[in-house]
Symmetry: C2
Subunit: 550 residues, 2 copies
């Protein structure tokens, strides 16, 4: 033992579990009067937010929620969703599960059961689907209704009936703001649970820990160039990788959350102009929405706005149009398993002098590791050796570091596979360029990304296979100007069966959430390899031609 | 055990030791051609810097430096000093000791022996004192001379002779840039050693770990509002708390280090203008230096410059003058034991509308915890209970969190005392204001006890600073036969101002209770440490002699 290890131990004075909760504690102490949340006519200061988080933790404690219990939320980007990111772990160390609000009842029921959810908070926009889901669960969580006072009377989606035994506002008010809230016992403690869309079989429950969440807060702040008091508009769903950890990140610089129930171009421009929004994130669909905004709904931007986008590389015309509109677009990449973005297209000022198309090509690359990711590499998954940095040799994108998940809940086999060889296997294929920037070449081949949501082609195929006329099928991504991608199905029919596109889509509608339905169904023989494997890459090319009307 | 703990273990894929070395790795990969270091006519890119750090690690390895060995440097703010911050720990996990270049031979010898230094790199500015020190050590380190090619021929301090067996340039060139450098095995591994100035007895060796250093990098970047590619001027000695961790911090945003051997006003203005400096740090003496710069040596600043200052609260006239010169001053506070600044006077925008004197009073407070410090409190050291947040009740300032040292090297008793009760005891006395901001009132040993009443030396100093003729002052206890102690003030006058003891005491009478008035005011230059801190213990000795009529 050397002298530097002799007796110099971790003690409470020099070692404390990292947690994003401490950033909110600090923001409330330093900037108590600064606006923390804006939602319609609702305003909340950091003092109030901190009190409310402690009230929520206290109210959950009152319902018997304890360490390692799961609290689910089925909420839009509204104030309770932000509070839940702090209040749930502060309730004796419970874990937050943010349900994807677009899921069908069966999938919701699976997640509620798998995570053994003890209490669920449901926005009345989703009470009907949640009621169906709860009817299917074995588990019986306590249900709390959130009746949003800001819900517009003339909303495109009418508000459903209450289905719970408790009302969120009363529930919150019942909590004690002086509650002795929990900080993690260990920074490795779980903070949230996020289910992947699941390419095969059931979705996997990705567990985040406090350490990773806290490091994401610091890294996001630096990568997104957030100065003092950023104003952040919630165009990215908070149920998606915990909104890339921004519900916690904003506390670092005491920023203001601007809530948004529905992503509509006019509302985005209005929020930016009214509240001086500095940052927002979203899938390419959000950029399309902005760019197709009718002129009479547009508002002048108060300053240049930082837009972080992921899911698909932004194409040149979109980048140019966004720049012209006043948005500085940064391309990031990550997975549910990496807390959202763990790779960033860090801009090199040497590239400023390149042509617009060269710049777009450079920006289309996924990029380099986030500050808190130790390693990003493209490896041959057989040998675990790096592929040459030549921009052409394909390998699997792998990561390791402190913003990789704790593992999959109750799924040791999947966890072991994901971490085989000491790296997290992204399942995405890519190349590494001579300058060290990584570029994806094939999203893990079965996934379709529509409006920022992952759709498993296998899930759609399974639905199709349930129809008696389907002999063989394959679903691939078809480019879509609005959604980025939509599923396109190729089907071989059983002998003598008619090909009825409308009937097959109607059949799928009974089995799948609306956004997962095939945009097109094409009846043809499927191209196969000599060993009988369907050649999806050929179908992808065909789908692209169909999308172009050819 | 709950499901979130079942089998979800730390693995190399999801848990890596945090270390600032990874920030340099990343900067060199992402911005290889960006300027990393400027020193006179010397330029070095991030690619070159990364190669040189690996060369240094390799060369140290070649000299048998291993894990837990100490490598000392006696260097100015020059390129080898920056390289050493990375290259030493990269050498099999060795530990860097930066020697205070203003120490006397006996103190240097003590530190070289206590830390069992295996190799020391010495700038030829300091070869004479180091030769004396080495003659006194029991330990016989390998000595490497650094002969700075940028050392001016007409330097005020002539360069000494070489005293080593190796030359730094050759030593570095002998290293292999492909060396298999070390990352820490554990983030709790030591990275550096810094001796406190030690007002009584032998200095204590403060051990920093990789975890704390890495967190300081992220926190410094955010608190100092460092955007992409900051340009940092080295007016703070890097031997002082590892330059508040800025040698590592700059790598986070791939910033440029601008070296400076001697802190001279003209050179500072020139560097800012020539290189577009965005940030610098320093003791109040650096602000005085800047403000007293002759007009013909001044250069126009290219933009507003961020100046972080510590050690003493910046007085109102200095803040106003600095703002007029184009510097945004942030007041930070910390100790060697907290990696430099762990407390920051985070500015509240509500204060913008206050008067200049109110703003100065608010800025004179030390402030709130750094992002990576879990807790900052003012506690009664007897009961360990918080004092009321009333801005008047005195207690001891205490900290806990991840930017508190690992402990004191080979000094378990001092470590235990420092961490008693689960908090780091700063030894500084202060109050906490109703808004949670902490303000120092005194070092515990600097309190003057007169007739049983505590007198804060800082309060008396603040009164003196309000007089226009006072440039710098320090108040200490003077033995008094009747009262036990009384304040004795030492004052440096502004150029051309007369020293009028009676007038100054009359001025204080308007601001202070009678028992707090200085018994004597002595006009003289104040003794300062190498980092610009006033050496009150010397003044205390002087005051004792004065009291004896000597």
């Amino acid at each position: 033992m050397n002298a530097y290890e002799d007796g110099l131990l971790r003690t409470p004075a020099n070692h404390q579990p990292m947690t994003p909760i401490s950033f909110l504690e600090r923001a409330a102490r330093v900037h108590p009067d600064h606006p923390a949340i804006i939602h319609g006519t609702f305003r909340c200061s950091y003092r109030q937010m901190w009190d409310d988080c402690r009230r929520l933790a206290s109210a959950l404690d009152g319902q018997g929620i304890g360490r390692g219990d799961t609290v689910a939320v089925m909420l839009s980007n509204t104030p309770p969703m932000i509070l839940a990111h702090y209040g749930v772990p502060m309730a004796n160390g419970a874990v937050l599960l943010s349900l994807n609000t677009r899921l069908d009842p069966a999938m919701l029921a699976f997640q509620l059961d798998h995570a053994q959810v003890g209490l669920v908070i449901v926005d009345r926009e989703f009470s009907a689907v949640m009621a169906e889901a709860l009817a299917m669960t074995h588990n019986r969580p306590i249900v709390v209704d959130f009746d949003d006072p800001e819900y517009p009377d003339d909303a495109p989606v009418p508000k459903g009936a209450g289905i719970g035994t408790l009302d969120f506002a009363e529930f919150l008010a019942s909590g004690d703001p002086e509650f002795a809230y929990a900080l993690p016992q260990d920074e490795w403690d779980a903070i949230t649970l996020n289910y992947t869309s699941g390419t095969t079989g059931n979705p996997k429950g990705v567990v985040y820990h406090h350490r990773g969440a806290a490091l994401m807060c610091l890294s996001n702040t630096i990568h997104a160039q957030m100065g003092r008091h950023p104003v952040y508009l919630w165009t990215l769903p908070m149920f998606h990788c915990n909104g890339w950890c921004y519900p916690w990140t904003l506390s670092v610089q005491a920023g203001t959350h601007v809530c948004l129930r529905w992503v509509r171009a006019g509302a985005i421009y209005q929020a930016i102009a009214d509240h001086g929004v500095t940052h927002l994130c979203g899938a390419p669909i959000v950029m399309s929405t902005l760019l197709s905004c009718p002129a009479d709904q547009k508002r002048a931007l108060p300053h240049r706005v930082n837009f972080n986008t992921a899911a698909a590389p932004p194409p040149e015309p979109v980048l140019l149009a966004m720049a012209q509109e006043g948005f500085d677009v940064t391309h990031v990449y990550g997975l549910t398993e990496t807390y959202g973005p763990s790779v960033v297209n860090d801009w090199n000022s040497d590239w400023d002098s390149r042509s617009a198309s060269e710049q777009a090509a450079l920006k289309a690359r996924q990029g380099v590791s986030y500050l808190s990711l130790s390693d990003l590499a493209v490896l041959d998954p057989e040998t675990m050796q790096p592929v040459p940095a030549d921009g052409t040799t394909l390998g699997e994108v792998m990561m390791r570091g402190n913003i990789v998940m704790k593992g999959y809940l109750k799924n040791p086999q999947a966890t072991e596979q994901a971490f085989a060889g000491g790296w997290f296997h992204s399942g995405d294929l890519g190349v590494i360029h001579p300058d060290g920037y990584v570029q994806l070449k094939d999203r893990s081949k079965d996934i379709i990304i529509s409006g920022g949501e992952n759709i498993s082609s296998i899930e759609v195929e399974e639905a199709l296979y349930r129809h008696p006329s389907v002999a063989l099928c394959a679903v691939v991504a078809m480019p879509d100007p609005k959604w980025g991608e939509r599923p396109c199905a190729f089907v071989e029919l059983r002998a003598g069966q008619p090909g009825d596109e409308a009937a097959l889509i109607a059949h799928c509608r009974d089995l799948l959430a609306g956004y997962k339905l095939p945009a097109r169904i094409v009846f043809q023989e499927l191209p196969k390899t000599s060993t009988g494997k369907i050649q999806k890459f050929m179908l992808r090319q065909r789908a692209a031609l169909i999308a172009q009307g050819q």
